[in-house]
Amino acid sequence: MVHALRRAGQRLRSGGSLISIRPHRTWLPVVSIITPSRRVPVARLDTPGFDTRQSAAEAALARVVREGGFTLAGIRNQRYRARLDNPSQLRTYLELIAPPRPRFPPGRRARLLELWASRPRGSYIEIAEGIVVTALRRR
């Protein structure tokens, strides 16, 4: 990771921005079914290897700042909700995430499908997640 950040720094103009977008460390993805009358939480997704990867990313960003090539311009945490129309969109959504991808705990995907099969009209699936954006400025 440090090598990638350094190489990006070599190719950025002075004053240019390096932006890192990554999953939030503790706001893990929660899948719910939203019916017209209530929110039904189904699963908090497992994120194997997640802590190690996030720690490494944060350490790499801190290191290139310490080395003097960048200054920290800011960090912003944001929660967001994605609306999906059906379970097959959920598969696509999860496949877009760089590995290691979040996974359903045992039995929870089946539970989602079971609840989805008996959903009231007008229901949809929601994934609530958090992301963190770190901005560095090239010296």
Binding site: H3, R7, R13, L18, I19, R22, L61, V133
Partner: protein, 89 residues
């Protein structure tokens, strides 16, 4: 939503942008119409092929998708204004 957050720190409009870990271009295609030039990398061949298909459909000549990692990028060359690591650190 990601673009709104990015724009809190820098504009992408008219900028020369290096995107690392572009995947199938989901984020790239959101900002590319307003960007100057974009060079987007990803090590996953199927994702880059999907991105190229979508680029052809959208007709965005200012984007170059490349298979590989940023370590393959020459250390010298025309400088970029913004480097985006989109879900790739």
């Amino acid at each position: 939503m990601e673009l709104r957050l990015i724009e809190r720190f820098t504009t992408l409009r008219g900028r020369r942008i290096l995107e690392v870990g572009c995947g199938d271009g989901r984020l790239t295609f959101q900002y590319a119409p307003a960007a100057g030039e974009v060079l987007a990398f990803d090590p996953d061949r199927p994702s880059i092929e999907d991105a190229l298909d979508e680029q052809a459909a959208l007709g965005l000549p200012n984007v170059a998708f490349r298979l590989g990692s940023i370590e393959h990028l020459p250390a010298r060359g025309v400088p970029f204004d913004v480097a985006l690591f989109s879900w790739s650190l």
